[in-house]
Symmetry: C2
Subunit: 429 residues, 2 copies
Amino acid sequence: MKPLRVGIAGLGTVGASVARILSQSGFALASRCGRPLQLNAVSARSRGRDRGFPMEGVAWFDNPVALASSADIDLFVELMGGEGGPAKASVEAAIARGLPVVTANKALLAHHGVALAKAAEARGLALNFEAAVAGGIPIIKALREGLGANRISRVYGILNGTCNYILTTMEATGRSFGDVLAEAQKLGYAEADPTFDIGGMDTAHKLSLLAAVAFGHAPALDGIHVEGIERITPEDIAFADEFGFRIKLLGIATRDGRGISQRVHPAMVPHGTPLADVDGVFNAVVAEGDLVGKSVYEGRGAGAGPTASAVMADILDIARGVRLPAFGAPAATISRPEIVPLASHVGACYLRFTVIDRPGVIAVLSRCLADQSISIESMLQRSRSPGEAVPVVMITHEAREDAMVKALAAIVSTGTVMEQPCMVRIERF
Amino acid sequence: MKPLRVGIAGLGTVGASVARILSQSGFALASRCGRPLQLNAVSARSRGRDRGFPMEGVAWFDNPVALASSADIDLFVELMGGEGGPAKASVEAAIARGLPVVTANKALLAHHGVALAKAAEARGLALNFEAAVAGGIPIIKALREGLGANRISRVYGILNGTCNYILTTMEATGRSFGDVLAEAQKLGYAEADPTFDIGGMDTAHKLSLLAAVAFGHAPALDGIHVEGIERITPEDIAFADEFGFRIKLLGIATRDGRGISQRVHPAMVPHGTPLADVDGVFNAVVAEGDLVGKSVYEGRGAGAGPTASAVMADILDIARGVRLPAFGAPAATISRPEIVPLASHVGACYLRFTVIDRPGVIAVLSRCLADQSISIESMLQRSRSPGEAVPVVMITHEAREDAMVKALAAIVSTGTVMEQPCMVRIERF
């Protein structure tokens, strides 16, 4: 049978890994997908380096758009990254030419996914992006196909390995956020500019894609409330443990009668629940459907092997002739969802205040919360240092987000607290 | 677009649930799979009952083989169960007629899967069985497609909800196996004849299918070592906890240079590992691949909703025109694997002996183990009742299975123990 000829733009760790797999196993994989896979063309920034696969018979392109436009290939694989630029231009060129596309580019899809999917579907082409979310976990396939008959009400998870590694290490060592981040950068677990990961935007990109596939609407990145993990302290992690929780950066998307709610923020999850035990660079996703109930998917969220595993799954599907709408439903029929604002979210919270240890402080805090009908489930004021700054932490009962915001503003305006209160939402899934 | 006309044989809780989904949502699901789904024919033992879906326009067949042979359908769904009989005859009839088949019947596939897959593939037909393993967890799809480029070295999991419910309840309540089983039967969580579940054969059927799909060979049910949970006592569960383990009935399939090893038995898994926290009727599967590393899939393993979710996923794939070889590789090319005998398995063990509490007993036990080069990692002889029967429990270091069998036989032959020793393998995945 005629081989499927593959072109890869981008030969970083993932691209080089996919190229090696195609070179070494492309023929053997015919038993899995019905036809041999053949690496025919590649493009990258620098040509010189040995990347562990033979370049004989593989055409080199300096320009990825030229590769997409003119290489002898049946499938274009985009592994450069970046929301626009050459990634977008080359994917558009491949589709315009009638080639199916595989990409791991969450930023590209979160911003331009619907336009690209429309173009691909209009020409009867696949646009696959399993590797864009949760690395090696086949979660896009699970949502789009395995749970395809379910009405999904909620999908959430730990989607950023860098943040999970930092939080796990802070917990294990008691070291500060900045300290652990610096080490993670040295070890290559965090980028030189880590803003995208630790600020939550990487998780937001992935959540927008998960939600789109789960609920059958267009990705709505601008409808996501995003907070990062920068303000979490070892103290918060220790208090969380005392209250029976661990702190994780979560992406959470919920659908109800009003529309879609999407949020990314650090959250306290109870010990013993599926997400609490996901450590280090692992990712996990929970999907809740009307038929299946709760199902959990866990695995490595990044790295050459796991990401290449997902890219290869997309390539195998295309070799088999499988062609599904990118977001589950045809792109021409999907629209932007109604966004439910965070203000109406109802949930319990962990609050940490830094106060001067003197009589009456707790009364002030409690009064401001009570004024917004927020009641306190438990409180800890461990250290006693009269006249000095000490932490007071609380777990509240369920309250509306807008009430909580007002209460915290009122507390700040009393002058009782030495710094901005720390608030972490509690998620008892 | 022309609807996909579906015929269902078997209207138990799962069949009736699938029929209801098709009746209520068959048209709406066209957005997921490109064409409407339409329930056209059903067959069951008794006609009278109202099963919650309208029978207007749905043809009734008393005989499932007649339904498969002559109903106006494009797809045959077999949900009767049973290794042979009408299930096998009707699936064969459907394939002979050129209809794709969806089934949840693990016994049928474990015994006749290759023959049926060959017949289906020779006619270019799909034979899908997502619902046969792990209920609502899309694990067949994950192994065959999502991890399709991986060389899987090991796949294992908790595959029987009845056993997991019994073990979880024994642990939570300290009650005996027989007591909890009787209650589970009353609650409908265990069959009137529970042998198949508690004896491990249901898990073995599922494991044979998982291993076949993961490793790309023919299911080899007769090559599985099978033990059930009947001999586990509340004492064992309590001792396991003291040593840092929980007891779960596992199915484990491993591939190495020698071939395939498959076993089903109660196992001790360390607290904090993915399978240890899977409780009640939940199932979980772990797959280890060369690219992806370890990935974990957890969800409800039985029940009308989860099983119907899996059946519907198979139906959606057929509606989309997706057609993959049943066992990952074409049935004509797969063969029976080399079976690695359990005798060569190497692992640590928990051992419980019932002995008369008197000096010298431990020396006898230790000597018999030492004679087979088995060393003891830790030992507990908690209760002291000189002259009476007391338990002695041990955790061994790693040892070969055949050495362990010899050591236990030697211990029995000394007359030191009051009953057959209890041995539970330890799995530190």
